[in-house]
Amino acid sequence: MKRTIDTIHSSAVVPAALALSAVVMLAPAYTLPVMHLVFVGQAPSDTTIFSGIKQLWRQGLGILAAIVFTASFLVPLLKLAGLGWLVVAVWRGGEGQSRRLTRVYGLIDFIGRWSMLDVFLVAFLCGAVRFDALASVQPRAGILAFGGVVVLTMLATRAFNPRLLWREETRPA
């Protein structure tokens, strides 16, 4: 019996470790610049994820700002919170919550890819805007950290086995 419980606990260790690594990466992802903009006639500037969202808002593009805010901020946080909930439920035994937790897992799995929005945005700008002195966009360390958050959360979701949520119900009498 002890071995079974150990196996269950260790099954959640890998997703927990990946999710924890993603949490650590969140701080540089949100505080470091994701790109450096140079446009002739304007002072060169660094952009973070939040300043990019604010810029969209100031341009009057509220819907786009909301989309980027959701994809780049809410989705990673919700994914990590959800993964934390799932892992804790497996470790503590979430009897009676299996169906709800399975829905949480399905949601995390579904929304995961949309966090890549900002990575694709920065990659596109860096590849397309290359006018040397006239205009250029260069990636900065923040996008590397943010990409790391996205990859780690997606790997954590994949590493988590949702059947662990149902072990109480399937345990033989």
Binding site: F39, G52, L56, F120, F124
Partner: protein, 205 residues
């Protein structure tokens, strides 16, 4: 090991028994309510048609100009793979390769795997079909053409005031490829797990 007439819920592990499904009908797990199977309204021919259309459009998507930017009198035309090059040339090789994988390689590979899976099913090579199905499921998780398109659209609005942007034929082809990839995958994913000739629905054992 499940037998051919059994279906195991991928989320909770509940074992179900097959029953025929009508086109458009969905079968859900009796325990966790996850969708187990859904019979497509269109058959495997639709998967093949969508996937082949996607493959044909993938070539111009990769080769034709993606966008053209104009700043003062300077004109720059970029291509689909320039996103990768933009990161790679700034020593972000891993991230650049990752963007290439999710935005270009995985979607295009998914289309080829879907064509191969339909072909394997037609030739009645069940083992190969199941291998390709597993491979398609793996690739699909990392294929994100629709997210890339949304990212490019947001970038257009960001550039609005400072650079003139015009969409090239490569982007239109890429958008169409993405649409066909989604349609092909959706139809493929709706086919019964045991093969397309055996329509079935689960009931409690």
């Amino acid at each position: 090991m499940p037998s051919d007439d059994q279906l195991i819920c991928p989320l909770c592990g509940q074992v179900h028994r097959h029953q025929p499904l009508a086109p458009g009908q969905r079968a859900c797990c009796i325990r966790c309510e996850a969708t187990l199977e859904e019979r497509a309204r269109l058959g495997p021919d639709a998967v093949l048609a969508f996937a082949l259309a996607g493959v044909m459009l993938a070539i111009p998507a990769a080769l034709l100009p993606f966008v053209t930017l104009v700043k003062v009198s300077a004109v720059r035309t970029s291509f689909l793979t320039d996103s990768f090059m933009g990161l790679w040339s700034h020593d972000m090789n891993a991230l650049g390769f990752w963007v290439l994988c999710c935005g270009v390689l995985a979607p295009f590979a998914l289309l080829l795997v879907l064509v191969a899976a339909v072909w394997a099913e037609r030739r009645d090579t069940t083992g190969r079909f199941h291998q390709l199905r597993q491979l398609a499921r793996f690739i699909e998780y990392w294929a994100m053409p629709e997210v890339q398109i949304l990212g490019v659209m947001v970038a257009f609005f960001k550039l609005g005031d400072v650079v003139d942007v015009s969409i090239g034929p490569g982007l239109w082809c890429y958008a169409a490829t993405s649409l066909f990839t989604l349609l092909a995958w959706r139809q493929f994913n709706l086919q019964p797990r045991t093969g397309w000739s055996v329509a079935s629905a689960p009931v409690e054992t």
